[in-house]
């Protein structure tokens, strides 16, 4: 079930992303960070912070945002915006039969 122009990609076992943390994947030449919130749901964003190239997968998250570990810029899980500068892209992500699936 994908919107037009969007491809689904399988990234392997869903257990690869522990609760509250993020992991980075390369998906069709693009870097995507997948996060699991503490309620168990998944989120996916660009993996690179547009500010100084920081690894967002190494950041800390809450229900609303991920905070880059380098200079603490925060990106919304809803729309990828950042109050202090340019935002990042948000991708669809879900768990399907124990596997991670993202839509790009």
């Amino acid at each position: 079930m994908s919107a037009p122009g969007v491809t689904t990609h399988r990234l392997g076992p869903a257990a690869a992303v522990p609760v509250g943390e993020g992991r980075a994947f390369s998906v069709a030449g693009r870097q995507v960070a997948v996060f699991r919130l503490r309620d168990g749901s998944l989120r996916a964003l660009d993996a690179t912070c547009p500010h100084a190239g920081g690894p967002l997968a190494d950041g800390q998250l809450d229900a609303r945002k991920i905070v880059c570990p380098l200079h603490m810029r925060a990106y919304s899980f809803v729309d990828g915006t950042c109050p202090e500068g340019p935002g990042v892209a948000v991708f669809g992500v879900r768990e399907e039969a124990g596997e991670l699936v993202v839509e790009l």
Partner: protein
């Protein structure tokens, strides 16, 4: 067979001498009997001003009566010794007692000098009602009682004590006049200009009327005090008179007992009467090398020497006199003075600053490049630095003005108005004045400006400048309530938060959010909460990995390109050939781009890929150096006594022991320590969070709150302790207090001034509130719970713990230096880290 030790005088000197003797095991050798004029235990005479000023004075007693009982000391309170028979070795008291002694200590102190004048006395022994000295607890309480309902008072004598009396009496609403014979107030401490500034402050701000160059001729009495007649014939009407025109040593006992008495009882360098090796004299009643001291610091030094000699612990101990240095608050004004007040020789340098309107005066006298005198009035922030320079003859800054002012960092005095918009205010986060102003333009308050621009959120040293700019730009800089919260998501300050966490038994960060955060989980609050829970629960803390910052999840410090730096523990900066070989082999094997010796005397392997961390640790086979955490980092040392020609203490071993004991302990911000083997401070202990300096005879200065990073600050002397184990212990006590009370990211250089050095001394050194045992116990629990985090290499905490955060970016991106001109032999990895 115990010897009889008789102590005449139960004041600060006598009691301190006995304390020092007991501390040297004298309790088993001597039966101690003390005689005190006053019917009390021993009290702190310096606190009398606080009693008079109406401050809390519960702590005025230095030794309650229990202390005498606990130490088997016979106290004859309110009994006066009238004669010593040196040949029969007996003392005679005014209650008829005769007591034999083997050793005798005379510590009779001094008394108020009442200058001869009409109307002072009713008879030989009785002062006119309304006339008071200011010397004893009885004087003080009588003065307070008498002041009730009176209108005015005259204080005769404008020295330190007189001004304290005047200030105290002002608190009871009296009109207070100070009559000073000379031209200058506090002429023992201040020169003419400083004295004039102090006078202005006292007259304008405290409301004391000062009459200099005036001498009282008589006290007018109508059965009780009615006024003071001055030599010029004028009269000041007054209900009471306080006489503080100097003190006189109590030497009567010395005179009738045949001891040599000049201005006071003459002693040698061992604090013995020059006439009798079994009679020691200490405090204000003794004269040493022509000097009679009236301040408390020399008295402590004398008591130490006396105890060393008397107990035989160090029969050669010698007192060489004290340098006059005082720091005090007189009538609410800070005053510090040491050495010379004014230059004495033609080529003495004299640097002065005066700002009478603010009541500030500072001067220094320099001779041959050494500080020989300093006077500070109204603003004494440089006193610690000056005292050290004065005591130790340290080299002085070429710009002499730095002796008077701290010039480091952007000066706030430059003013927010004059700064150009492009000037960078926050260097950590690259925020300019223009950025701050535009945020204010959008309606942000100070707190919002800091959140939005991140100004002041790095090292924090620019915070007050940011506040000034916000204010200048028209924004609200009112501190909002949330400023005191430990984390932004929970409306509690740290003590309240700790109490709530303990009361509800919250052992994980997620449970804290669930129980205490109104809006639930908050990313920015996780790291400070994880740190706090570890401090509170130690081994019982429930470790949730997502609560930790990346550095704490992978036990290495993330770099700008997403690689990590690896610093193994090298306690005290001491390593071995074997360790160095393993480090070199590891660097080769993992193509480490840069190997750097750190400022903390360790070796940093930079540019390590996250995936390689476990294998790098395995290859190093050394424990974590915690160069990534908000925690105890490192203890720098100098070479101490093993090799150094100048070392006074084994700083190297002490540094190693401190680092081994307190390794990895979480704290509100990083802790950098150092131990120096002598006051040359080669390990820079003066500017560390905790610095320890050997000063000889196994005595160690413990300094706290120093910094030489974003701010420059010299550490404050918490205490000088005897014994390296005591230094180790006190270090831990301070560390635990900071762990439990420091705000998140508050370095010790902000924490120590916020709490106050005097308060820290009272809490941690004197144990005023009885908290030290608890601190030590909780610290021990934390120490016992320590586990080397690098052991996670063998059992990762989560799946993919060491998985790369940016799989496609070639790492490292930072320029590589290999110390030669040839290209570094490092393969740039573009490892595809996609997880299968």
């Amino acid at each position: 067979m115990t010897e009889q030790l008789v102590v005449v005088g139960n004041g600060m000197a006598g009691a301190r001498a006995v304390e020092e003797i007991l501390a040297r095991g004298g309790g088993s050798r001597f039966d101690v009997t003390m005689f005190g004029d006053e019917p009390y235990g021993n009290y702190n005479r310096i606190m009398l001003s606080h009693v008079l000023a109406g401050d809390e004075a519960d702590e005025i007693y230095l030794n309650p009566l229990d202390w005498y009982r606990d130490n088997d000391i016979t106290l004859n309170a309110g009994v006066r010794v009238v004669r010593v028979d040196r040949f029969a070795r007996k003392v005679f008291a005014d209650d008829g007692q005769t007591l034999a002694y083997d050793k005798l200590i005379i510590a009779t102190g001094s008394r108020t000098f009442f200058p001869p004048m009409d109307g002072m006395w009713v008879d030989d022994r009785t002062l006119t009602p309304g006339v008071f000295g200011f010397r004893t607890l009885d004087d003080t309480t009588a003065m307070i009682d008498y002041a009730q309902g009176r209108h005015s008072a005259v204080v005769i004598g404008g020295g330190l004590l007189g001004l304290e009396a005047a200030y105290g009496l002002r608190q009871y609403g009296l009109d207070v006049h100070v009559v000073q014979g000379g031209p200058v107030l506090m002429s023992q401490q201040l020169d003419d200009e400083a004295g004039a500034i102090l006078r202005r402050v006292l007259e304008n701000k405290v409301g004391i009327q000062v009459h200099t160059g005036q001498r009282p001729a008589a006290i007018r009495s109508t059965g009780s005090v009615a006024g003071v007649v001055l030599k010029d014939g004028s009269t000041i009407d007054a209900d009471m008179v306080v006489v503080t025109a100097g003190i006189r040593p109590n030497v009567g006992l010395g005179v009738v007992s045949g001891l040599t008495v000049e201005r006071a009882i003459v002693v040698d360098d061992q604090m013995r009467s020059v006439d009798d090796p079994d009679i020691f004299v200490v405090g204000e009643c003794c004269q040493h090398r022509g000097e009679v001291y009236g301040l408390v610091a020399p008295l402590w030094e004398q008591a130490t020497v006396l105890a060393d000699v008397l107990t035989g612990v160090d029969p050669k101990a010698a007192y060489h006199g004290s340098r006059n240095a005082t720091k005090l608050k007189v009538a609410g004004v800070d005053v510090a003075q040491m050495g010379l007040r004014t230059p004495e020789r033609p080529d003495d340098e004299f640097v002065r600053f005066a700002e009478p309107r603010r009541g500030v005066y500072k001067s220094v006298v320099i001779r041959d490049g050494r500080l020989v005198g300093a006077t500070l009035l109204g603003e004494t922030d440089k006193v610690a630095f000056l005292t050290q320079s004065f005591d130790r003859g340290l080299p002085l800054p070429e710009e002499r003005v730095e002796l008077l002012f701290s010039l480091a960092g952007p000066s706030e005095a430059e003013g927010a108005a004059e700064m150009d918009d492009s000037v960078q205010v926050c260097n950590c986060n690259g925020v300019s004045k223009g950025d701050i102003c535009s945020a204010v333009g959008d309606g942000c308050s100070l707190a919002e400006v800091m959140v939005r621009t991140r100004a002041g959120k790095g090292c924090g040293s620019c915070k007050s400048l940011v506040a000034q700019i916000v204010e200048w730009a028209g924004g609200s800089s009112a501190p909002d309530e949330s400023a005191s919260w430990y984390v932004p998501s929970i409306p509690l300050d740290k003590p309240a938060l700790i109490a709530a966490i303990r009361a509800q038994g919250l052992r994980s960060v997620s449970s804290v959010f669930a129980a205490l955060a109104p809006d639930g989980e908050d990313a920015a609050s996780k790291m400070p909460l994880a740190s706090l829970l570890k401090v509170i629960w130690a081994g019982e803390y429930v470790d949730e990995r997502d609560a930790k910052y990346i550095n704490d999840r992978v036990h290495a410090n993330i770099q700008r390109d997403g690689t990590f730096s690896v610093v193994p523990r090298m306690s005290g900066g001491v390593t071995t050939a074997d360790e160095l070989r393993r480090i070199a082999d590891t660097a080769d094997r993992f193509a480490i781009p840069m190997i750097k010796v750190t400022g903390g005397q360790r070796i940093d392997l930079l540019g390590v890929r996250k995936e390689d961390l476990p294998a790098v640790w395995e290859s190093l086979d050394m424990p974590s150096g915690y160069a990534y955490g908000k925690s105890m980092r490192t203890v720098k040392t100098c070479v101490g006594t093993d090799f150094c020609r100048y070392g006074l203490g084994d700083s190297t071993q002490l540094g190693i022991d401190i680092e081994e004991r307190y390794k990895g302990l979480e704290s509100p911000a990083k802790l950098k320590l150092a131990v120096a083997g002598c006051p040359r401070n080669c390990s820079e202990a003066l500017c560390k969070d905790i610095g320890i300096v050997a000063v000889g005879d196994d005595r160690w200065d413990v300094l706290v709150g120093g910094a030489a990073g974003a701010s420059i600050r010299q550490g404050d002397l918490l205490a000088t302790v005897s014994g390296r184990d005591e230094a180790l212990r006190l270090t831990g006590v301070f560390m635990q207090y900071y762990r439990e009370n420091g705000r998140w990211l508050e370095r010790t250089y902000d924490f120590v001034p916020r709490v106050g050095l005097d308060e820290l001394r009272a809490l941690l050194v004197e144990d005023r509130d009885g908290i030290v045992a608890g601190l030590e116990e909780r610290l021990q629990t934390a120490v016992d719970a320590y586990v080397d985090p690098w052991l996670e290499r063998r059992s990762p905490a989560t799946q993919g713990q060491f998985h790369g955060g940016l799989p496609l970016v070639p790492l490292p991106l930072v320029p590589i230096r290999d110390g030669s001109s040839s290209p570094a032999g490092v393969g740039l990895s573009s490892g595809n880290g996609a997880m299968a």
